[in-house]
C-alpha cells in the first residue's frame, strides 16, 4: 500500500474514514474507481485537494450505475450543484450512503431525494409517475400508472395532502423488509 501515501495524506484518510462508512482500503478502492473513470482528468495526488469534477456521462456509465433506472437522479442528488458532475467527495458520499453499513435513516433520506424528481421536497403524483415509468420502462398504460400512483398515495400519505413528505416516506420505508437489502450498491 505504498501508493496511498501519495494520494492522500494520513489526516485526509482518517477524516474520510470518520465521514464515510468505508475502511481505508475501501476508500482507496473507491478512489481508484473514480480515477479510472477519467484517468486524464483526475490526478493521482489529492493531498492538495484539487477541484476536479467528473462529468455525469462518465459517472452514469459505471457498471454499478449504468443499468439503474435512477442513475441520473442519484448523480444529481449527490453532486454539489445538482447537475450530476461529481467531485471525489461527492463520489465518496454516494457510495458511503449506498454502502451496506449506512443506517436506514440515512438511506431513507437520500432515497427520498432520489425519488423526488422535481426537487420540491415532496414526492408528488408526478414524481410517482416518473418512478413507475422508469421502473417498468414505460410498459404500463397511463391509466395503470395513475392507478398505481393513486394506490401509493392512498397507502403512504398519512396526512392526506396528496403527496408524500419526507416523514411519510420514512414512515413507510421503515417497514419495508427489502429496503436495506435493495438500496445498496457495492463497489
Amino acid at each position: 500500500m505504498g501508493s496511498k501515501q501519495t494520494v492522500f495524506t494520513h489526516e485526509q484518510l482518517e477524516a474520510y474514514q470518520d465521514c464515510t462508512f468505508f475502511t481505508r482500503k475501501e476508500i482507496m478502492r473507491v478512489f481508484y474507481r473514480y480515477q479510472d473513470l477519467a484517468p486524464q482528468l483526475v490526478p493521482l495526488d489529492y493531498t492538495s485537494r484539487p477541484d476536479v469534477r467528473v462529468p455525469y456521462e462518465l459517472i452514469g456509465s459505471m457498471p454499478e450505475l449504468k443499468d439503474n433506472p435512477f442513475r441520473q437522479r442519484i448523480a444529481q442528488v449527490f453532486s454539489e450543484d445538482g447537475d450530476g458532475h461529481m467531485t471525489l467527495d461527492n463520489f465518496l458520499d454516494m457510495f458511503s450512503v449506498m454502502s451496506e453499513m449506512a443506517p436506514r435513516d440515512l438511506k431513507a433520506y437520500y432515497a427520498f431525494k432520489i425519488y423526488d424528481f422535481n426537487e420540491d421536497d415532496y414526492i408528488c403524483a408526478w414524481d410517482l409517475g416518473q418512478t413507475v415509468t422508469r421502473l417498468t420502462r414505460g410498459e404500463l398504460s397511463a391509466e395503470e400508472v395513475a392507478l398505481v400512483c393513486d394506490k401509493v398515495l392512498d397507502e403512504a400519505d398519512s396526512d392526506q395532502d396528496g403527496r408524500l413528505s419526507l416523514e411519510d416516506f420514512q414512515n413507510m420505508i421503515l417497514r419495508a423488509p427489502d429496503f436495506l437489502s435493495t438500496f445498496h450498491i457495492r463497489i
Binding site: 458520499d93 433520506y109 420540491d120 420502462r137 404500463l140 392526506q160 419495508a176 427489502d178
Partner: protein, 890 residues
C-alpha cells in the same frame, strides 16, 4: 478552523470587537454568557442534525456563526489579556497548533498578573488553555460540567458524522471543527491530579479508537472472496449472492471445527500415540494386506485409509498418551461434544443477529404498492441482462397487483384447483414414500452384498448412486408436479423448498435407520468375535511346542482376529456419501450447466430454432437446491464427524473447491433468474433450516453415544460399557474426590428433573414476558400513529384555514398542481420558502404566506384556480376526514 475562516469573515471581526469589549471589562461577567450562549446553540444543532432537510442547513449555519462568535469572544478575551490585538486572523491557524506549547507559559503569566489582586480562595488548578480561556475565573463545577457536556456532544458528533446527511465538504469541515474543539477543551476537564489522569485516559481512548479502526481495516481485508461475490451480486442480484455468502459462512464454521478436531484429536494421536502397525487396531489385517494400497480399495476408504487416523477405529484406548500425558479418549469425547456445541452456538447467534436487524413485517400488507415502487429495484444490479429481467419482473408484479386490486374476489373454478392440488400432493407423497423405500431397499441389499466376496463396483456403491440420483431427479419432478397447483410463485417456492427438504430428510433418515440395523447386526456378532479373539490369543500363548524358558514373541498385530468395528463402518459410510455427493454435484454442474451452455452457445449458429431463447436455453442458478444440498451435506458432516474425525477436513476441501468451481460455473454458464425473488430474510430462513438439520443430526449421534456399547477392540472408548464412561473415569481418577462427589450428586435424577422443570418454567415465563412486551409495543405503535395522524390532520386544517383567510393564493402554484409538472425555475423559490416553515413555526410566528403556498400545492388536481376562495374552507374541514372525502368536489 479554516472552515470558519472561509465561511464568515465578518464573524471574525465581530469576534475581535467582542473580545475587546470584554477585555475592557475584566470583571469577567462576559465570559460566562459567552459560553453560556453556546449550549443552547449546540443543543439546537444536535437536534437539527437529526432532522435533515434544507431548513436545517440554514439553522446550523446560523448556529455555527453564533458559536463561532462565542468562540471568538472567548479567544478575544485571552488575546486582550496578553495584549496581542495586532495578531491577525492569519496567524490563528498557526496558533492553534502552537497553542499546546504556549498555553502553560501564558497561563502562568496570567496567574501572576490577574489572580493576585482578586485573592481567590482556591488557586485555579487546571494548567491548560481552558483556564486562561475562562479569564481570571477558575472553572466552577457548573462550567466544567457544561464544557464536559459540550465535549461529549462533539465527540458524539464525530462518532456519528458518517451518518449525517450532509455533503462531504460540510462533513469534513464539521469534523475538523469538532475535533479542534475537543482537542482544545478536553484538557480543561478534570482537576489537579485528576487532570493528568483524564488526559491520559483521553489519550488512551484516542489510541483505542485508532486501534479499533485498524483492526476493522485488518478484519475486512481478511474476509475472503469478497470481490468474487460482489461480481456475482452485480450479475445476478442479491439472491444468488446470498447462496455464496452462506457458503462462505459455512466454510468459516467448518474451518473452526476442523481446527478443533485436527488440533485436539488428530495431531496428538499422530504425534504421541502408538505408531502405525504396533497394535491390531492400527494395522491392516493380513487378509486385506495385498490389496490395501490399490486405488480402487483406497477409493472406497478401505485398506490403509480405513486404518488411519481419519477414522474412529484407529484411536487407542490408552488413558494418557505421550510425555504430555494427554488424555486422548477424554479429548476425543469432549471435542465430539464441542463440535455440536460450537455449531449450535454459532447458528443460534447468527439467527439472533438476523432477527434483530429485521423489523416487524406485520404491516407490510398495508404498503403493497409503496414497497413495490420504492424497494423493488435492486440497486446492486450491474448487468444489463439482469436489469432486463428485473424490469420485466417489476412490470409483471405491478400488473399482477393491479389485477389483484381490480378483481380481488374473483375466483375461477375453485373445485378444479382444489382437485389438482390434492392430486399433486398425493403424487408427491407417493414420490417421497417411493424414494424412502428405495433407499431402505438399497441399503438392505448392500448389507447382502457386503457378505459376498467379490462384488462389482456398482454393487459396492449402489447406495450412494441411488441417493444421488434421487437428489438429482426428484426436485425437477416436484417442480413439474407443482405446476399443476397454480400457486403464486412465492407460495410455490415455499412448497417446493418444503418438499425437497422432506425428501432429503426422509432419505437421510431412511439411510440412518438402515445403517442402525447394520450396526445392531454387527453388535450382535461382536460377542462371538470377542471369544474367538480371546481363544486365539490364549491358544497362541499356551500352545505346546515352544520353548517354555523364552517368552513367546507377541502375535503379529495383523494376525489378530478382530471385530467389525461398527463405528468405523459408520464413518466410512458418511465419508463415501460426502465424496459421492460432491462428485455428483460437480458432474451435474459440468453436464447440466456448462455443457448445456456450450451446446446452446455454439450450436445456435446451425440449428433450426433459436436455442438461446427457445427450448434448452441456458440454465438458471438453482438457489433452493444448492442451499438445501449444502445444508444436508453439513448435516452429514455433523453426524459423521464423531466417527470419522477426518470428515471435516474433507468437507473443508469440498467447500473450498466448490466455492471456486461454482463461482466459475455461475459466471460462465448461468443466466439470471427470470423470476427474480428477493434475498430478504432468506438468510435467516437458511439458518432456521440449518438449525433444524443440526438438531436432527444431533439425535442419532447422541443415541449412539448414550445407548450403544462401543466396539471392544477399536476406538478410544474400547473396553468401556458406554462411551460416556470416559467422563466418569476422568472425574474419578483425575479430580479430587469431593469434585467427584459433587458431580455424582449433580447427575442424580432427583436434581436433574427439577432443573429441567425449572428450565421449562423459565421458558414459559420469558415467553409470556416477551409476548406481553410485544403487545405493549404494538399498542404504543398504534398510539403514536394515531397521535401523529391526529396532529397532522389538525395542522392541515389549520394551515388550510389560514391559507383561505389570507386570500391571496398564487394562481401559479395551483396551476402547477394541476399540471403536475413543476418547472425548475418556479420550484426553487417554493422550496426555499417551504424550507423556512419549520423555522417560523418553531419561533412561534404564524405560518402565513409560505404555508399557504405550499399547502395550496397540496390541493387535489382538478381544482379550478380562482374559485378556491369560497370553497377552500369547506375543503379544509373535509380534509380532516380523509382523502377520500376530498375527492368528490373535483
Amino acid at each position: 478552523m479554516d472552515y470558519l475562516k472561509s465561511a464568515s469573515p465578518t464573524n471574525v471581526i465581530r469576534g475581535f470587537s467582542g473580545g475587546d469589549r470584554s477585555g475592557r471589562r475584566p470583571s469577567s461577567k462576559q465570559a460566562p454568557p459567552g459560553r453560556r450562549g453556546s449550549p443552547p446553540g449546540q443543543l439546537d444543532r444536535a437536534r437539527g442534525s437529526q432532522r435533515p432537510g434544507s431548513p436545517r442547513r440554514k439553522q446550523t449555519e446560523r448556529q455555527t456563526e453564533r458559536r463561532s462568535r462565542g468562540g471568538e469572544l472567548v479567544r478575544g478575551q485571552e488575546r486582550s489579556a496578553t495584549d496581542r490585538t495586532c495578531e491577525g486572523k492569519r496567524k490563528r491557524d498557526a496558533r492553534a497548533s502552537l497553542r499546546e506549547q504556549r498555553a502553560p507559559q501564558k497561563k502562568e503569566k496570567e496567574l501572576l498578573k490577574k489572580e493576585e489582586p482578586r485573592t481567590r480562595p482556591k488557586k485555579p488548578r487546571s494548567s491548560s488553555l481552558a483556564s486562561s480561556v475562562s479569564g481570571r475565573e477558575s472553572l466552577s463545577e457548573e462550567e466544567l460540567a457544561r464544557i464536559l457536556e459540550q465535549v461529549e456532544e462533539k465527540k458524539k458528533l464525530i462518532a456519528t458524522m458518517r451518518s449525517k446527511p450532509w455533503p462531504m465538504a460540510k462533513k469534513l469541515a464539521e469534523l475538523r471543527e469538532a475535533q479542534a474543539f475537543v482537542e482544545e477543551y478536553e484538557g480543561a476537564l478534570g482537576k489537579g491530579k485528576g487532570k493528568q489522569l483524564y488526559a491520559y485516559r483521553m489519550l488512551m481512548a484516542k489510541k483505542w479508537v485508532k486501534f479499533k479502526r485498524d483492526f476493522v481495516n485488518f478484519k475486512t481485508q481478511c474476509i475472503p472472496w469478497e470481490m468474487k461475490i460482489k461480481g456475482i451480486e452485480s450479475h445476478f442480484g442479491s439472491s444468488v449472492a446470498s447462496y455464496f455468502i452462506f457458503l462462505r459462512w459455512m466454510y468459516g464454521v467448518n474451518l473452526v471445527l476442523f481446527g478443533l478436531i485436527f488440533g485436539l484429536v488428530i495431531i496428538p494421536e499422530v504425534l504421541m500415540g502408538v505408531p502405525y502397525g504396533s497394535i491390531p487396531r492400527k494395522t491392516v489385517p493380513r487378509a486385506e494386506q495385498e490389496k490395501a494400497m490399490d486405488f480402487s480399495v483406497l477409493w472406497d476408504f478401505e485398506g490403509y485409509i480405513k486404518y488411519s487416523a481419519l477414522f474412529y477405529g484407529y484411536y487407542n484406548n490408552q488413558r494418557t498418551i505421550g510425555w504430555l500425558r494427554y488424555r486422548l479418549p477424554m479429548a476425543y469425547f469432549m471435542v465430539g461434544i464441542s463440535v455440536f456445541g460450537y455449531s449450535l452456538v454459532i447458528v443460534i447467534r447468527s439467527m439472533a443477529n438476523n432477527t434483530q436487524g429485521s423489523t416487524s413485517d406485520g404491516e407490510s400488507d398495508n404498503f403493497t404498492f409503496s414497497f413495490k415502487m420504492f424497494t423493488s429495484w435492486d440497486y446492486l444490479i450491474g448487468n444489463s441482462e439482469t436489469a432486463d429481467s428485473k424490469y420485466a419482473a417489476i412490470t409483471t408484479s405491478f400488473k399482477e397487483s393491479i389485477v389483484d386490486e381490480q378483481e380481488s374476489n374473483k375466483e375461477e373454478n375453485v373445485h378444479l384447483t382444489r382437485f389438482l392440488r390434492v392430486v399433486a400432493n398425493f403424487l408427491i407423497i407417493c414420490c417421497l414414500c417411493g424414494s424412502g423405500y428405495l433407499i431402505y431397499f438399497v441399503v438392505k441389499r448392500s448389507q447382502e452384498f457386503s457378505k459376498k466376496q467379490n462384488v462389482s463396483w456398482y454393487e459396492r456403491n449402489e447406495v450412494e448412486i441411488v441417493m444421488s440420483l434421487l437428489g438429482m431427479f426428484c426436485p425437477p419432478l416436484f417442480e413439474t408436479i407443482a405446476a399443476l397447483e397454480k400457486y403464486h410463485p412465492r407460495v410455490g417456492l415455499k412448497w417446493q423448498l418444503g418438499r425437497i427438504f422432506a425428501l432429503f430428510l426422509g432419505n437421510l433418515y431412511t439411510f440412518l435407520l438402515a445403517l442402525m440395523d447394520d450396526v445392531h447386526l454387527k453388535l450382535s456378532k461382536e460377542e462371538k468375535i470377542k471369544n474367538i479373539t480371546h481363544w486365539t490369543l490364549f491358544n497362541y500363548y499356551n500352545s505346546s511346542g515352544w520353548n517354555e524358558s523364552v517368552p513367546r514373541p507377541p502375535l503379529h498385530p495383523a494376525d489378530v482376529p478382530r471385530g467389525s468395528c461398527w463405528e468405523t463402518a459408520v464413518g466410512i459410510e458418511f465419508m463415501r456419501l460426502t465424496v459421492s455427493d460432491m462428485l455428483v454435484t460437480y458432474i451435474t454442474i459440468l453436464l447440466g450447466d456448462f455443457l448445456r451452455a456450450c451446446f446452446v452457445r455454439f450450436m445456435n449458429y446451425c440449428w433450426c430454432w433459436d436455442l438461446e431463447a427457445g427450448f434448452p436455453s441456458y440454465a438458471e442458478f438453482d438457489i433452493s437446491g444448492n442451499v438445501l444440498g449444502l445444508i444436508f451435506n453439513q448435516g452429514m458432516i455433523w453426524m459423521g464427524s464423531f466417527y470419522a474425525p477426518g470428515l471435516v477436513g474433507i468437507n473443508v476441501l469440498r467447500l473450498l473447491t466448490s466455492m471456486y468451481f461454482q463461482c466459475w460455473a455461475v459466471m460462465s454458464s448461468n443466466v439470471p433468474h427470470e423470476r427474480v425473488f428477493k434475498a430478504s430474510r432468506s438468510n435467516s430462513f437458511y439458518m432456521g433450516l440449518l438449525l433444524l438439520v443440526l438438531f436432527l443430526s444431533l439425535l442419532p449421534v447422541a443415541y449412539t453415544i448414550m445407548s450403544l456399547p462401543p466396539s471392544f477392540d477399536c476406538g478410544p472408548f474400547s473396553g468401556k460399557y458406554r462411551m460416556y464412561d470416559v467422563l466418569q473415569e476422568t472425574i474419578e481418577n483425575d479430580f479430587p474426590t469431593f469434585l467427584g462427589k459433587i458431580f455424582a450428586f449433580l447427575a442424580n435424577p432427583g436434581l436433574i428433573i427439577p432443573a429441567i422443570l425449572l428450565m421449562f418454567l423459565a421458558i414459559y415465563y420469558l415467553n409470556s414476558v416477551s409476548k406481553s412486551l410485544s403487545r405493549a409495543n404494538a399498542q404504543l405503535k398504534k398510539k403514536i400513529q394515531a397521535l401523529r395522524e391526529d396532529e397532522k390532520s389538525h395542522k392541515s386544517v389549520k394551515g388550510k384555514a389560514t391559507a383561505s383567510d389570507s386570500g391571496d393564493i398564487p394562481k401559479s402554484s395551483s396551476k402547477n398542481a394541476t399540471q403536475l409538472q413543476l418547472p425548475k425555475e418556479e420550484t426553487t423559490p417554493h422550496s426555499a420558502s417551504q424550507s423556512q416553515i419549520p423555522d417560523k413555526k418553531a419561533q412561534g410566528s404564524g405560518t402565513v404566506l409560505p404555508a399557504s403556498q405550499h399547502l395550496t400545492v397540496s390541493q387535489p388536481p382538478g381544482v379550478r384556480p380562482g374559485s378556491s376562495h369560497p370553497r377552500s374552507q369547506t375543503r379544509a374541514c373535509r380534509s380532516a376526514s380523509g382523502r377520500k372525502a376530498q375527492k368528490p368536489p373535483c
